[in-house]
């Protein structure tokens, strides 16, 4: 490790992020001075405090986490397994990939009106759109990652007795994991966009409460609750990125020698 100075480790790791965060808050404060209708950090903080005391903050946070958690888990399992299948079956790949690419390019939220009328305006209807909408991106990324596995590793796997399922489970999947993780990250952000699009389309569709806030600020014109909710969602996505995706990426890079740890070669 090349600790450049005597600075404590937490500052070395978290310092840049904290500094940038403070700078952004300052910019926000300045902007709110100029724009009358935009609540500043202080107003938003007191709104957050009120929401925390009334329980609304925790309710939005955990209901969002629950909704996204379930939808994303299903999308991830389905998308990765179908993507592995596409990667190993050229016929299926040629048949499905053009349509998957088209679906991935199209904003998933366009399905929401369809689902709302076919399935009704229940959380299950939006959950279906969010889940299925995130899958093409995950499938395509998994397929590409599988196709990019070095043939030498597959030959080595075959030489050492891995065929069929064993080869897929113990060689192709781990070799493709970095690419699959990128696909999961993309699927996650598509899913989240789709959730909020559902809320804007028709009120409390996901049952997370984000839609109620949007509806309230739309009628009252007061944005402080909206800004507080944005902060809650930002905190949630930040936590997911730092605790899940960033860690997984880092571990994958370290175990594959893509981080220079200063060891002799």
């Amino acid at each position: 490790m090349s600790a450049s100075s005597a600075a404590p480790n937490w500052w070395h790791r978290g310092g840049p992020a904290v500094s940038v965060g403070l700078a952004l808050a300052l910019l926000w404060a300045l902007a709110s001075l100029v724009i009358d209708s935009l609540p500043g950090p202080a107003d938003t903080a007191s709104q957050l405090w009120a929401m925390a005391r009334s329980g609304q903050l925790w309710s939005i946070f955990f209901r969002t986490a629950g909704f996204m958690g379930v939808c994303f888990a299903v999308a991830a399992i389905g998308g990765v397994s179908l993507g592995l299948l596409l990667g190993s079956r050229p016929w299926a790949d040629r048949g499905f990939s053009p349509y998957l690419a088209a679906l991935q390019g199209m904003p998933t939220s366009m399905w929401i009106p369809v689902a709302a009328i076919v399935l009704g305006t229940s959380p299950a209807s939006l959950a279906a759109v969010v889940t299925i909408g995130a899958m093409p991106a995950i499938m395509l990324a998994t397929r590409t990652a599988v196709k990019n596995v070095p043939p030498l590793l597959i030959r080595a796997g075959r030489t050492f007795g891995a065929e069929g399922r064993t080869l897929r489970r113990h060689v192709i999947l781990p070799a493709a994991l970095p690419g699959i993780t990128t696909g999961l990250e993309l699927g996650w952000s598509i899913a989240f966009r789709c959730l909020v699009a559902g809320e804007i389309f028709s009120g409390a569709l996901s049952g997370t409460g984000i839609g109620d806030v949007i509806q309230a600020s739309r009628t009252s014109g007061d944005l402080s609750e909206m800004m507080a909710t944005i902060i809650i969602v930002l905190a949630f996505t930040l936590a997911v990125d730092r605790l899940v995706f960033a860690r997984v990426h880092h571990r994958l890079r370290v175990s594959r020698g893509l981080v220079d740890t200063g060891l002799p070669h």
């Binding site: 050492f160 007795g161 002799p264």
Partner: protein, 265 residues
Amino acid sequence: MGARVGLESVTQSFANGDGGRVALVDVSLDIAAGEFVSIVGPSGCGKSTLLDLIAGHTRPTAGRVALEDADVRGPGPDRIMVFQEHALFPWLSVADNVAFGLRNSGRSDADATVAMWLAKVGLTDAAAMHPHQLSGGMRQRAALARAFAMRPEVLLMDEPFSALDAPSRDRLHVELQELWRETGTTIVFVTHNVREAVALGDRVVVMSSGPGRIMGEVRVKLPRPRVVESERVVALAQEARRLLDAADQLGITAPRTAEDSHVSI
């Protein structure tokens, strides 16, 4: 123990864009059980195709490839390939890489076997490391341990040391001869380095390119372990060199006097 390998008038051609490419024409070669055969030849002489045929990764267009008296019908744990690039799995530790094939073939004593072979190649201390943390020589040693741990009857080596620095290569030459003597494995060693071929092999088979065929062979009856610098190895390498020059289809007629005959292309 090693097994006998026989190729009988093997012809191999590959279909590609413009009509196909003939890699091997009428190649017959008998390799005795426990023999160490080196194969040298210019690029594109079908050396690697020969190994693929014995490994069972491809089937001959015409002719017969046999192990003992049975035709080779596909890959099997009795024939293990060692590649030019180590082809270790980057996400597994050295010990898990060595254990990979053993676990696939369901051997119960995998852990003990792994420990034994890591000790034999001097990698006991590196057991928990990942391939990227090792030097080139250590990686190829780990690849050797992974191959020998399978107790193959035939070891197929495709220019395994050509990417290594000279000192590592010289050490591995001696270590490989010791492992071979200890295990009695049949070894087919493909290289483009004539001196390496003479230092390692019981005989050196010289191939020509375009299409690949066997030009002749040189028997090596020098005492082991041999090193590439030994005068008798160098002298014998000149004999093989002459065969190879005749085989060289590229028509390079650089003068090879006694002084510069050490050049090994």
